[in-house]
Symmetry: C2
């Protein structure tokens, strides 16, 4: 996966999940250092609806598998 591409793609995510992956909003999870396989599984679940979330569904909808892999690798890389 391409961590730099993931970082660029994550600009949108930073609004809720924090520029450093620590969320400013108690209801939204921190993603800093989170397991890439877990993040990937959740983004795909939001995208196909097997995990229901009104906010995350439209966020995940436009993401390609490559975007998802890059985002997941980027967040895991944050130490």
């Amino acid at each position: 996966a391409d961590i730099e591409a993931g970082k660029a793609k994550a600009a949108v995510c930073a609004a809720c999940h924090g520029a450093d992956g620590i969320s400013m909003i108690p209801m939204y999870p921190n993603l800093k250092g989170q397991k890439a396989q877990y993040v990937e599984k959740q983004l795909k679940a939001f995208k196909d609806g097997s995990r229901a979330d009104a906010i995350m569904a439209p966020m995940a909808a436009p993401l390609s598998d490559a975007d998802i892999a890059n985002l997941a690798a980027y967040y895991e890389s944050l130490k």
Copy 2:
């Protein structure tokens, strides 16, 4: 919430999520320092089935609201 009670309750969770909240298994999320409100929302969703997961459903099923609040506070307290 009672972080000590949460810690005791988390003995079961440590098998997958790690004794320090860092999972040894790539597919299972780290919980160390995770937002308590987020963890609480997810445990309740696993419990009522609004979030489907074959592994987490039986884990969440026996938890009371107090257990859930204590577990969530415990994991957020891990720095």
